[in-house]
């Protein structure tokens, strides 16, 4: 089961990388990052069963990963709204004020 979980995690991570590389919309980027983050969390949960299952280290890590993802989504979407108000678009290529 561990090998299956790790395999699934690698596949999901690759899908997330594809999304991050090909998307330009800020909300799509957040969606892809969430997919990559879940791929990592599946690994944590899978390994939590193998090593010191009584200590629950892996599951505690996974719980904090989910919490950090919630923070990231809240601040990321607030930034998306702020950018939309200023630039009228959520396309990350239009935010080029610092471009040389």
């Amino acid at each position: 089961m561990t090998t299956a979980a790790v395999t699934l995690s690698s596949v999901l991570f690759a899908i997330g990388v594809f999304g991050v590389l090909t998307r330009r919309n800020a909300i799509s980027l957040l969606v892809s990052v969430e997919i990559m983050m879940n791929a990592a969390i599946i690994n944590l949960v899978a390994f939590s069963r193998l090593y010191e299952p009584e200590a629950m280290t892996g599951q505690v890590f996974a719980l904090f990963g989910i919490g950090i993802a919630a923070c990231e989504a809240a601040i990321g979407l607030a930034l998306v709204l702020a950018v939309y108000r200023r630039f009228g678009s959520t396309d990350v290529d239009t935010i080029d004020l610092l471009k040389g």
Binding site: A4, A14, L21, Q59, L81
Partner: protein
């Protein structure tokens, strides 16, 4: 191998297929709305995987926080940032380059995980929720308090960022 183990493995593969399909649809569709709904399906399938990996509490947290919180938040952000557009679409740039790079990265990670000799299943615990609760209020208490502070700080930050300035 007992019958219940067989059913567990079958369910694991089924949830995995739904998760991979949802993720693929989320990154490949041009419609932003469908992408977010597919993300919700993906996250629900991952919650199923958590349950099968003996993390009952995490499965519930995944549904509450991700599907109930983050996906709804994303839908609201989409509606607020696409005013006047009935069906917001987003371009997909350089798909060949993205596919090639993600294939290389995915193949590398997959090769590493398949060539490593992993034990198939550990002892596990009988009562995962009980053990997790003891860990959170025992050895991991400081990190538990810290995540609360971080969540509060992020909520205040989000409010400050989206606040309209009064003139």
């Amino acid at each position: 191998m007992t019958e219940s183990q067989n059913i567990e493995q079958l369910l694991f593969v089924a949830f995995g297929i739904v998760a991979a399909g949802g993720a693929l649809f989320a990154v490949a569709t041009r419609s932003l709305l469908r992408s977010i709904i597919a993300l919700g399906a993906f996250l629900t399938a991952v919650a199923g995987e958590f349950y099968l990996l003996a993390a009952d509490f995490l499965a519930v947290v995944q549904i509450f926080v991700y599907v109930g919180g983050i996906v709804v938040l994303m839908l609201f952000a989409l509606m607020l940032s696409a005013s006047g557009v009935r069906h917001p679409m987003a371009a997909i740039d350089r798909p060949a380059l993205g596919a090639a790079l993600s294939y290389v990265i995915g193949a590398g990670v997959l090769w590493g995980s398949l060539t490593t000799d992993l034990p198939s299943v550990g002892a596990g615990t009988d009562d995962a929720v009980d053990a997790l609760g003891r860990a959170l209020l025992g050895s991991q208490l400081w990190s538990f308090e810290l995540i609360g502070v971080i969540l509060l700080a992020s909520v205040i930050t989000a409010l400050v960022i989206v606040r309209r300035e009064r003139r």
